[in-house]
């Protein structure tokens, strides 16, 4: 067990940058395509569901203080079953790492470095994340403290300076979907918000674990507010048809900003915050996977695993999806169920078994 401590603010920043960056890439298009003008209701449902889920993670973390999710699943389920569940979590984090890697390199490849091989972009990204992961959790936490404003400020600049093109009429008609449809559409954002199960790892290192729940609520609350603001500006500025056509709508939003004759062409801001945010995501998933592996197989230092894991990820990144269309289809159809199985079902099962085996009263 590492002797590291992270503060509440760092805890919030980590979840905030992780979540916001993974939401801003491809999700706006899918959400607007599905739920049109009612997209804010979907986001609110997502927020409520995830805030409730956070309580489950929180209770588990409080019942087994100083233990990460990999360790307490062994405590709860016994060594064998616990290891299997732990491996499922590792697989999930590994998959999320791959997807984040794919998303960034696709983005960079499409809009920025069109001639550079994607494998090379992946290599650079993994190399930098490798360095950060080896440096340990405290460095990752401080990194996300720097990155959080790097995401927030460019996003706010873009949202502010595109206000002159807002056409509020585009917000109508609202309430065109039934509550069942909305719940169905919110599966995907809920599964995206669910990456916050990394909370199950960070809580063990939190210096005031009691504040974890509050920190998580602040993080998802601010992410929800920001993503609703972004989605609403996309709808009011572009209309639903145009925004559900664009693969990177936020990038488009930055492209149309023109204030006076000098403040224009600021897409770079989007590139900065997308890559900075995705970098935090990469580092967190990378760290979680190797830490999980090390704790499951009782390896003293997780650092011994990082290089091998990185190489495996680099090789896999070449094969995992043939093209962006395949990834989109997977994200829209299969991913939510897969992710919800891990993020919701497994966690709730853990809690139930823990309540039965160790009684309700245990701290």
């Amino acid at each position: 067990m590492e002797k590291v401590k992270i503060s509440t603010r760092q805890f919030t920043c980590m979840l905030f940058s992780l979540l916001l960056s993974s939401l801003m890439f491809g999700l706006p298009r899918i959400l607007i395509e599905q739920s049109k003008q009612d997209v804010w209701q979907v986001m609110l449902i997502t927020f409520v569901v995830d805030a409730l889920l956070a309580i489950v993670y929180f209770i588990l973390g409080m019942r087994y203080p100083q233990q990460t999710m990999f360790e307490y699943s062994e405590t709860v389920l016994g060594p064998w079953l616990g290891k299997i569940i732990g491996l499922l979590f590792v697989l999930f984090f590994g998959y999320m790492l791959l997807v984040t890697l794919k998303i960034v390199s696709e983005f960079v490849f499409t809009v920025l470095l069109t001639e550079t091989p994607e494998l090379f972009i992946n290599f650079i990204l993994l190399l930098v994340s490798f360095y950060a992961v080896n440096a340990g959790l405290e460095v990752i936490a401080r990194l996300s403290e720097i990155v959080a404003p790097l995401i927030l400020i460019p996003l706010l600049i873009i949202l502010t300076f595109s206000l002159n093109r807002v056409e509020l009429e585009n917000l109508r008609p609202i309430f065109q979907h039934s509550i069942w449809q909305l719940l169905k559409y919110s599966l995907l954002p809920i599964s995206m918000y669910g990456v916050c199960i990394v909370m199950g790892i960070f809580m063990a290192y939190h210096n005031k674990p009691k504040e974890s729940l509050k920190a998580k609520w602040i993080a998802i609350g601010s992410v929800t507010v920001l993503s609703i603001m972004t989605l609403i500006s996309l709808i009011t500025i572009f209309g639903t048809s145009y925004s559900s056509q664009q693969i990177y709508p936020v990038f488009r939003l930055a492209q149309i900003i023109k204030v006076g004759n000098f403040f224009e062409r600021i897409e770079t801001l989007v590139i900065i915050f997308q890559i900075a945010g995705a970098f935090v995501g990469l580092v967190i998933f990378y760290y979680s996977s190797v830490l999980g592996l090390a704790q499951i197989f009782k390896i003293q230092r997780y650092q011994t695993l990082t290089p091998y894991f990185g190489v495996i990820m680099l090789i896999l990144s070449k094969f995992v999806f043939n093209n962006i269309a395949e990834r989109h289809q997977f994200t829209e159809t299969i991913f939510p169920y897969l992710a919800l199985f891990i993020e919701v079902f497994l966690i709730i099962m853990l809690l139930i078994v823990s309540l039965i085996r160790h009684g309700i009263k245990k701290t």
């Binding site: 069109t114 650079i124 008609p173 572009f238 149309i256």
Partner: protein, 386 residues
């Protein structure tokens, strides 16, 4: 040990610049030709003729023409053909040598023939490619688009720059529309019935070829079906709430041969849909604030009674402008360019789901009321003419 570490770090620092310079994607300015205008026409054998106006950078000017001044043109025009737009773009490199650079392109001009066959196929590339920008102007011309590239610029050194300024300031007269790629794509979005784009021509009154923005082009779905003259275009702009300024002229009260100019200060237009007994009614409301800017007659107009009369005539003129475009859209083109369907879908979503497939047949039958409210804010520096 310490020394060895220092050597490794120094080496690392020396290697990093090699990685961050972006070896694969560097773009040297000298190797680029900056495209300022694009024209797309129908070529022979159903091919696409793609013409560009390239800004002459000082470097290429000096090398090609030994420092000659005066009559030297500031741009070069080139064209290539291909099966698709992108094919034509790449074929153009065979002639240009340099790779063309598009992010500074001002406008895309579409020729008449290609616009009649549909513009979405041609615009797809510009919407898809990351190098193209959504704020590029889209214009249609009645002849060959390549001819527009040949136009002489008057005040600016590049006709592209001039075109950009003409379109940015279109609101001063409100007699043409200015549509960029984003507006165009929004107008052509999935279930839209049509679009209105800017129309550019060579000024017939000027023997030296110069540019003239003349009215607008009307599209059914994405196919060009006709044109609007400047006043009809303003009718369209009233309805779409896009009039910012402009001059309204009408005869003096009492003296029919003399005219009055009213300057539009502010205008607000909106469409209110309504359904009664299965019939669709639309009420177009326009609120205008204007000022008396010029009068040719010698009557004293500076009193409330006369201003009331002016207000009435102004209402009539505006109503006529709007009625013209509504009639034209309903009867001549049979296309909902004014966005009645969109308004209907916003206010009556359920009814819209039922009617939306038959909207083309229903639209011409819809009843349209026009309400114009005017306010005359001031009369300038003069109380009455001498």
């Amino acid at each position: 040990m310490r020394k060895g570490k220092r050597v490794i770090y120094t080496l690392l620092i020396l290697v990093i610049p090699l990685l961050i310079s972006g070896c694969w994607d560097r773009k040297e300015l000298e190797g680029r030709a900056i495209v300022t205008l694009i024209a797309i026409d129908k070529g022979e054998n159903n091919q696409i003729k793609f013409s560009v106006q390239i800004a002459r950078t000082s470097d290429s000017q000096a090398s090609s023409n030994g420092g000659s001044s005066g009559g030297e043109k500031s741009s070069i025009i080139m064209s290539g053909t291909g099966d698709t737009v992108f094919d034509a773009i790449r074929n153009l490199i065979l002639k240009a040598g340099r790779k063309l650079y598009y992010p500074h392109n001002t406008a895309i001009i579409l020729g008449n023939d290609i616009a009649r066959e549909g513009i979405l196929p041609e615009l797809d590339l510009f919407n898809r490619d990351a190098e193209m920008r959504p704020l590029t102007w889209i214009l249609v011309t009645p002849g060959q688009a390549a001819d527009i590239l040949e136009a002489q610029s008057t005040l600016e050194s590049l006709s592209a720059k001039q075109l950009d300024m003409m379109l940015t300031d279109f609101g001063a007269s409100s007699k043409t529309v200015a549509t960029n790629l984003l507006d165009t794509m929004k107008q052509l979005a999935y279930d839209s019935p049509g679009a209105v784009l800017s129309n550019i021509e060579l000024d017939p009154s000027n023997p030296k070829k110069t540019l003239l923005l003349n009215g607008a082009a009307v599209f059914r779905r994405d196919k060009l079906i006709g044109r609007l003259d400047p006043l009809e275009t303003r009718g369209y702009l009233w309805v779409k709430d896009k009039v910012n300024a402009g001059i309204i002229t009408f005869p003096c009260p009492g003296e029919e041969t003399k005219k009055i100019s009213m300057e539009i200060k502010k205008a607000k237009g909106k469409i209110e849909p309504d359904i009664s007994e299965g019939k669709f009614n639309f009420t177009i409301t326009v609120n205008v604030v204007s000022r008396l800017a010029e009068q040719e007659c010698l009557t004293d107009l500076g009193n409330p009674e006369e201003l009331m009369k002016l207000k009435k005539s102004q209402n009539e003129v505006i109503e006529k402008e709007i009625r013209n475009i509504v009639d034209k859209a309903q009867d001549k083109y049979g296309t909902d360019i004014l966005g009645f369907g969109t308004e209907l879908s916003r206010k009556f979503p359920q009814e819209w789901q039922k009617i939306k497939d038959n909207w083309t047949e229903e639209f011409p039958k819809a009843e349209v009321n026009i309400v114009v409210n005017s306010k005359i804010s001031d009369i300038g520096l003069v109380k009455k003419p001498l």
